[in-house]
């Protein structure tokens, strides 16, 4: 005893209008409530979401490591590229800015200065780029398995963090070779990196949601990031510029989170960078940016949790 719910009319095209205003059927809803059924795919509250995300921490770690391993697996030199890539990057920029353009004037220890800026900025840059594609590039995964989607941008940021740790090893070697002494200040790298990682994760979460909705963002981001890089004093000493600029401009430039994390790392690593060279209120700003980006990014991403499968 079956029932035909709609005529099997294959010729007439059905009108493609979605009745969004239709309320849920009261009979069916009552049935669902009576048996304890819940709305499928509904966004869990923030606390529950965080709990589920924490339960997936092993997946996040495994996914990040797997991605990192898979990146270089077909290259003959394999994992060695993780060390060679930052070295080559530093070489290119040294050639252009150190040798050809002479932005090194007045900067002691230019090579460590340049490499630190470059590696630290690359971490933020690649986290944002990877974040933009984190959901839109993993749509197959999102449409096949159930897990808190925030796992994806977080895992991609973790990949970049692991890359950065390789770069930091290279950086430490470069800095020591250039004759910069090893001091207790180096320990400041840990909080600086930690804060930057939280900041980057937040940024990746924001970009992941935007990138999931507007796929054109991925095309636009490289330009935005390059602009950001040039105003962040990666290749030159920004304080030479902010000294003569109007107060409001220099204040804005000094609040730039990328500049803050770069300067903190330079302060930690290079002995000729002194505390008075740093922008004002550098540690509170570093903490503030990390908290702002981290919390706002997480909530912003969670708000659209149930929609990521739609593409």
């Amino acid at each position: 005893m079956s029932q035909t719910l709609a005529p099997p009319d294959r010729t007439a095209a059905a009108p493609s209008v979605v009745p969004t205003a239709l309320p849920p059927d009261p009979q069916l809803r009552a049935l669902a409530e009576r048996h304890g059924l819940t709305v499928s795919g509904a966004r869990p509250p923030l606390r529950e979401y965080t709990r589920r995300l924490w339960a997936r921490r092993h997946f996040i770690a495994a996914f990040a490591t797997a991605r990192l391993t898979a990146t270089y697996t077909t290259a003959r030199m394999g994992q060695l590229w993780q060390v060679v890539t930052p070295l080559l990057n530093a070489g290119v920029y040294y050639l252009i800015f150190g040798v050809l353009l002479h932005t090194r004037h007045g900067i002691p220890n230019f090579i460590p200065f340049l490499c630190t800026g470059l590696f630290v900025f690359t971490f933020t840059q690649s986290a944002v780029l990877a974040g933009t594609r984190a959901v839109s590039g993993s749509l197959g995964l999102v449409r096949a398995l159930h897990f808190p989607r925030a796992a994806l941008p977080i895992a991609y940021t973790l990949v970049q963090l692991q890359q950065l740790l390789f770069s930091m090893g290279v950086l430490a070697a470069i800095v020591l070779i250039c004759g910069v002494p090893l001091t207790w200040h180096w320990l400041l790298m840990v909080p600086a990196l930690l804060l930057q990682s939280v900041f980057n994760t937040g940024l990746a979460l924001v970009m992941a949601r935007i990138g999931a909705k507007t796929t054109d963002t991925a095309q636009l981001m490289p330009f935005v990031l390059r602009t950001w890089m040039y105003v962040s004093g990666v290749f030159y000493n920004l304080s030479a510029f902010t000294g003569s600029a109007p107060h409001i401009v220099s204040a804005a430039l000094n609040c730039n989170p990328a500049l803050i994390y770069i300067d903190l790392m330079r302060y930690a690593l290079i002995d000729t960078v002194r505390a008075q060279d740093l922008p004002p209120h550098v540690w509170p700003l570093a903490l503030g940016w990390a908290l702002l980006a981290g919390i706002a990014g997480y909530v912003f991403f969670w708000k659209a949790e149930e929609e990521y499968g739609r593409g």
Binding site: L28, A32, L37, S40, L141, H146, T215
Partner: protein, 272 residues
Amino acid sequence: MAETTVERPPAPVTGYGAPADDRTPTVICDNVHIVYKVHGGGSGKGSATAALQRIVRRSPSAGVREVHAVKGVTFVAHKGEAIGLIGSNGSGKSTLLRAVAGLLPPTAGRVYTHGQPSLLGVNAALMNDLTGERNVVLGGLAMGMSRQEVRDRYPGIVEFSGINEKGDFVSLPMRTYSSGMAARLRFSIAAAKSHDVLMIDEALATGDRAFQKRSEARIRELREEAGTVFLVSHNNTAIRDTCDRVLWLEKGELVMDGPTDEVVTAYEKSAG
């Protein structure tokens, strides 16, 4: 025209999907509509020359197209049922399953479920450049197993897949596997976990004859462990063998909902 679409389709009050009987419902679909966007070649990746051509010709097709894949489907599934989904290609079967699994949110209407329904399949979580070994771990974790569970089930998964029968293949990257071997490993990982509501999306019987037998037996086991099973297939024999109820979808609409024999016969008649 708009008025006709706002009208509620007749709610199933008797017989199949009747809300008023004493069986326990596990999945309730209430007038589900799904619209998803398809990004044409215009955005995302695409060759530069193609993009240039589009700009020169001012072709509007570069934008986003919306696909109304499921149009107002209502049904109630109960505990212990094995439900088949049939219909021609592109009739919205897989999309409907994704909505039930909570992976693709309905644009309108509601899906209520008992627990978290799961699609059987981990393909998307696996990476071809990694060894089979690491893929088993990654796939297990992706399905929500704990590290301990993965460790416990690892030998079983590898043995079931049989990829180590001809040497130590599990320590090689998956891209070096033959397509049959890769499919066997994927199925073994996916079938390692049991679920409340299990959904199986066609083309599962892969690999050689021996493995097909093994996987069919495993699906039967999973069916017994699961409360409700959905099976999407174009193989009517498989549907007749496993399902006791069938939903027939055509162009996103539910054409028929009833006992397997009746619906499959009607479907076969209409398909010619």
